[in-house]
Symmetry: C2
């Protein structure tokens, strides 16, 4: 499966597990809410620094998000 889709699925799963909306999570991660939506749908190709920003508020690792 495409790495962007793997990231999207992992992100959505971990975010919803925490009961956060996309907007609430975006604020915690310091990125824009529409960008979170795009990433979860596998429609974007983020940089490694963005993936790190996603991992931090989730308390997970970059590797876990991309696996």
């Amino acid at each position: 499966m495409d790495i962007r889709q793997r990231l999207g699925r992992n992100l959505r799963r971990l975010r919803t597990e925490r009961g956060w909306s996309q907007e609430e999570f975006a604020d915690r991660a310091g990125i824009h809410r529409t960008y979170v939506s795009d990433i979860e749908r596998g429609a974007r190709n983020p940089t490694i620094t963005v993936v790190e920003k996603l991992a931090t508020p989730l308390g997970t690792t970059v590797s876990a998000l991309l696996s």
Copy 2:
């Protein structure tokens, strides 16, 4: 340590372990020679699809490169 520097160090280590020059590796990865140089020095912030291109010829994973 910065994720870009971790990627750079891991990439350089794995590449040299295989006895490849930057140029030879770049050809295998389908990436430009100077771009590989930049990544190894932590001077770039690549996207996840680029990291995937790096991992493939090394026979390793994106996670390993970013860890």
